[in-house]
């Protein structure tokens, strides 16, 4: 080991530790002077506030820790919805930008330029207040297919009421496991005998048949609970029963996915354009069908270019979801770094937990995407 190499690193480490030490010492002294105590004990205290929308049961008698979980799950929910829609819109628009049809590629181009150049917070406000202005009051709404009600108070959809839900879930798990085995078998068969097995159609068949069997023989039963209008006052109505998606969630997910999709579209365009023409021509010349060219030659190479920048966009979307606080969607920032912080006054503790949570979320997404990127990378033999 060369001391000259290690010394600068040790010094840097020392400086970093000193800076952190100074800040924490400074905070400690200041807090002591102002009579503020430090500790995470408040997490088990009763929260005594309610949240409008949560995935787990929550009311004011639950602890601050549970309020944290409520916020975290809501953040994850809107991020997952946002990521799914952003990816779908992004891929479609990205491919549309490459279209030879002038109208299609210009429309896609205008969409990308328009949405990515307006600040996200403005877009969130726009969609939220536009939605509030445009959506009908509960009593004026026209049901969609007789069971969906889109109103200013939220999107009311029917809920399934299950009997023996666990057996249904087991049947799906069983289907997934058998699909994995069939895939392994199909690969072996192709390597040994050169015969391809139609894995996709078998998989879809399994996913339909096994749950269906659980309905027929497993005693699984589902009934639909349709929302019913309820009168609150002479002029106020709402819906009861079913599942309610608040307008805050809908407009936030919409704004996030429309905004992030523009960046993903550019990643997709760049990825496909990054595969050289010769590849496609070579693939066609050995007799692959256009579908096979896209699936076996172009996409695997394009994905390697698309995935790393898209990972960044997923991370951005997750972090941007914290703008939810502006429109009353109860995400981590609103519930925990907002209400809980105000009610307890524990700024340092709560902000540190919130920061650490966003860091962990981002790192998890990043680890997953890196794993996927590695999986599809060229494996040189």
């Amino acid at each position: 080991m060369n001391i000259k190499k290690i010394l600068p690193q040790l010094l840097t480490l020392l400086v970093v530790i000193l800076i952190f030490g100074f800040f924490s010492y400074n905070a400690q002294v200041n807090m002591e002077n102002r009579g503020i105590t430090f500790g995470y004990g408040f997490l088990s205290q009763e929260s005594s506030f309610d949240v409008q929308f949560s995935l787990i049961e929550f009311d004011g008698s639950h602890s601050y820790f549970r309020a944290y979980l409520v916020g975290l799950l809501n953040t994850i929910l809107v991020s997952v919805i946002g990521i799914i829609f952003a990816t779908i819109i992004g891929v479609v628009v990205g491919i549309a930008r490459l279209s030879n049809n002038y109208l299609i590629n210009r429309t896609a181009g205008v969409y990308v330029e328009f949405f990515r150049n307006i600040p996200l917070l403005l877009q969130i406000f726009f969609w939220y207040f536009a939605a509030l202005r445009a959506l009908p009051l509960p009593q004026d709404t026209e049901p969609m297919f007789g069971v969906f009600f889109l109103t200013i108070k939220g999107f009311f959809v029917p809920a399934f009421v299950w009997n023996n839900l666990d057996i249904f879930i087991y049947s799906i798990i069983a289907a997934i496991i058998s699909i994995i085995f069939i895939k392994i078998y199909a690969r072996k068969k192709q390597e040994n005998e050169g015969i391809q097995t139609p894995v996709l159609s078998i998989s879809i068949g399994l996913l339909i048949i096994l749950p269906l069997l659980s309905f027929l023989f497993g005693g699984v039963d589902a009934s639909v609970e349709v929302p019913v209008i309820k009168q609150l006052s002479q002029s106020g109505f709402t819906y009861e029963g079913g599942i309610k998606l608040p307008p805050e969630l809908i407009s936030l997910a919409l704004a996030l996915s429309l905004y992030t999709a523009t960046f993903i579209a550019e990643c997709v365009r760049a990825g496909v354009q990054g595969v050289s023409k010769g590849q496609k021509e070579a693939a066609a010349s050995i007799g692959l069908t256009p579908n096979q060219v896209l699936k076996l030659v172009v996409m695997p190479q394009a994905l390697r270019i698309i995935i790393p920048p898209t990972t960044n966009q997923y991370l951005n979307l997750t972090k941007n979801s914290s703008l939810a606080a502006a429109i009353a969607y109860p995400d981590l920032v609103l519930v925990f770094a907002g209400t809980a912080l105000m009610q307890t006054g524990r700024a340092i503790e709560i902000v540190s937990i919130t920061m650490f949570t966003y860091l962990s979320l981002s790192i998890s997404i990043s680890i997953f995407m890196n794993w996927y990127n590695k999986k599809i990378a060229i494996k040189e033999k």
């Binding site: 807090m31 002077n33 102002r34 009579g35 503020i36 105590t37 005594s48 506030f49 309610d50 949240v51 409008q52 009311d59 004011g60 207040f129 509030l132 202005r133 009051l137 200013i152 108070k153 309820k230 009168q231 609150l232 006052s233 002479q234 002029s235 106020g236 709402t238 009861e240 608040p246 307008p247 805050e248 606080a325 502006a326 429109i327 009353a328 109860p330 609103l334 907002g338 209400t339 912080l341 105000m342 009610q343 006054g345 700024a347």
Partner: protein
């Protein structure tokens, strides 16, 4: 090492003070906030982001309101000019952090005095400048005439991070009504969402309801229900640990209220110097040495009354004449059937 350095500097400072024969009093020396304020030449005051009657800026950026007047009174007392105030608009979420982290020196932002806020997070409430309570606003055509008409599934818009959020839960829980809380960070968004029909009711302090009603698209279509579901004593707040500054803010507010009690107004304050009543003479600085106890000169209270006016004048100018709450209700003097009662300035 640092410890000794600190002691050494304070020793040097003390010696310097002794030898320069400054007129600085003991109180001023003890109060870091007072010293800093005098050095800067303005009072740093945290206010709301716009609540008519309490703290609201006009198009030219001039702040008015009863909360604003508390800061102006302190500026008049400490700096001699009620206009030497720097206002910082704060959301409910930011307000306490701004105060404890030294961004502002007085928080005068319709803030409810509660035990946990006073004791737990490094704050000290100095008094009450408005007695309020939480109420509900609903649409007139809803037919609601009382909170007892509320039904399960009602949605309520309010501000995030306020006592309102907690009172609302206590209230609906005690009535056994399930409700949907929709909480926003800024008051303007609460009003916009309620106005659009997102919520069936808008709940906050009654003074706030009266003030925000003006911002609705058709204010006459809305009413405030008669019930008051909580006590909300609103008052100015300072950082814990500077008792002299705390006293200055407290007695600036008390002076305004006491001036009303003795009939001293901005117009007649000067002539009151020759009053027969010693309490009035003390109030305008013609008798006693009350200013010195706070580290101020003896005209501090006279300046407050002359430049800002007494509490009644401030209320009339900001809340009554603007049509927000013409009736003073509990915010009337104790001598006139209200609950405004301050310790004597003597």
């Amino acid at each position: 090492m640092f410890k000794y350095l600190k002691q050494l500097t304070s020793l040097v400072a003390m010696v310097a003070v002794l030898f320069t024969f400054t007129t600085e009093t003991m109180a001023a020396k003890k109060s870091k906030t007072l010293k800093n304020t005098q050095k800067k030449g303005f009072v740093r005051c945290g206010v709301s982001q716009g609540l008519p009657g309490f703290s609201n800026a006009d198009a030219a950026g001039n702040w008015t309101g009863v909360d604003v007047d508390v800061c102006r009174a302190v500026a008049a007392a400490v700096l001699g000019d009620a206009n030497k105030v720097k206002f910082t608009p704060l959301s409910a979420k930011e307000r306490f952090t701004a105060l404890t982290s030294n961004e502002i020196d007085i928080l005068s932002r319709n803030t409810t005095w509660t035990l946990s806020r006073d004791a737990d997070i490094g704050l000290t409430f100095v008094g009450v400048n408005f007695y309020d309570g939480q109420g509900f606003m609903v649409r007139k055509n809803s037919g609601y005439s009382s909170v007892n008409d509320f039904k399960n599934g009602i949605s309520a818009c309010t501000n995030l991070g306020t006592t309102t959020e907690l009172n609302m839960r206590d209230f609906f829980n005690s009535k056994g009504i399930s409700y949907e809380p929709v909480t926003f960070e800024k008051a303007d968004e609460v009003v916009a969402a309620y106005d659009a029909g997102r919520c069936d009711t808008y709940t906050t302090d009654k003074s706030g309801l009266a003030a925000q009603r003006i911002k609705l698209s058709s204010p006459d279509d809305h009413i405030v229900l008669p019930e008051t579901i909580s006590k909300e004593p609103l008052g100015p707040v300072v950082r814990q640990g500077d008792s002299v500054w705390e006293d200055i803010v407290r007695w600036s507010l008390n002076t305004m209220i006491e001036a009303e009690e003795y009939g001293v107004t901005s117009a007649n304050a000067d002539s009151m110097k020759t009053s027969d009543n010693p309490a009035v003479k003390r109030l305008v600085g013609a008798e006693g040495e009350l200013g010195a106890a706070l580290g101020l000169d003896n005209d501090w209270s006279l300046r407050i009354i002359k430049q800002v006016g007494n509490y009644g004048e401030s209320y009339k100018r900001n809340i009554a004449d603007t049509g927000i709450l013409p009736d003073r209700g509990p915010n009337e003097l104790w001598t006139k059937g209200g609950i405004l009662y301050v310790p004597p300035a003597r």
